[in-house]
């Protein structure tokens, strides 16, 4: 299936997941273990996406300007910068380090 096809699948699954919450009996999802897994999944996936986008380059690990972007973003978050500012800081750090000659 094409990229378009999987985009539509992701959209359908995303909507049905939201709708599920409105349709199932309350006690299903108030099961604390289910709620806990939903929470740990969210944290684990975001952590994985963060590091994969920082270090993965296909199937190899690379240390490059993206690591600088991660550090700069962490500092911005530490200083309680809003989301958009954090993103711009990340871009500026990566672009700046490349200007200095980093890959």
């Amino acid at each position: 299936m094409s990229l378009w096809g999987w985009i539509l699948v992701a959209c359908a699954v995303g909507f049905l997941t939201k709708l599920l919450g409105y349709l199932v009996p309350k006690k299903w999802l108030t099961n604390p273990r289910v709620a806990r897994v939903a929470g740990t999944l969210t944290i684990g996936l975001l952590a994985s996406l963060t590091i994969a986008n920082t270090m993965a380059s296909g199937q190899t690990l690379a240390v490059d300007a993206r690591l600088g972007a991660l550090a700069a973003a962490a500092v911005a978050l530490w200083l309680k910068a809003p989301f958009l500012v954090v993103v711009i800081v990340g871009a500026a750090a990566a672009a700046g380090l490349r200007l200095l000659g980093l890959p």
């Binding site: 684990g44 996936l45 991660l70």
Partner: protein, 247 residues
Amino acid sequence: MHTSLAQSPGARVGLSIAVATGLYGVSFGALSVASGLTVWQTQALSLLLFSGGSQFAFIGVIAGGGTPVAAASAAALLGIRNAVYGMQMNVLLHPRGWRRFAAAHVTIDESLATSTGQSDPVEQKRGFWVAGVGIFVLWNLFTLVGSLAGDALGDPKRWGLDGAAVAAFLALLWPRLRSREAGAIAVACALATVLTVPFVPPGIPILVAAVVAGLIGWFGYRSGPDGEGLEPDIDPYPGEPGRAASS
């Protein structure tokens, strides 16, 4: 007697959250076209998937060379929390008919957080709808602005857009790291990702990390506080210490 909509605290908070969140649709739009999606594909994600974390996950996997299947899987797994939010909102709103579908579509971190932060049922409803619909409109508008701008920028690396993606993911994760356990889960999953990158196709390490996170969630369960890390990723009510952490 309820206040008018103009003076409604729920609607006011919802509106400010809508503006702040809608604006960062710019970054999603720009990063999405940088990852290789077209402007229309990018817009389809904002219109139909409409869940920031899942949308960023989808393009994050594609940007790393992962398959569309892995991208859709990561997006689906990140959307599971929305089912839990939906159940919470159903208890507060009891939407019927078409409203139930509309409510489901705008059930995201921000609308839930805005609503549950109000105590009056009418304000809870107003907060949910104003935040949800407001973000939907602005998020889509700014996604388009971002994707058109990103398209015009050319080489994404020169502008550090890969660094922007890293920053965006860290910014989505950061507010959830409120406990030591949440931090430990993040480290374990990051480690699982780094260790598997050389051995499996791109995109798969993220799903390996999901399995690790799921196992920690399931088997690490003690009868302690539930829903670790399941607070929405924003707090619309800053200045009320402890509110978000206890929700």
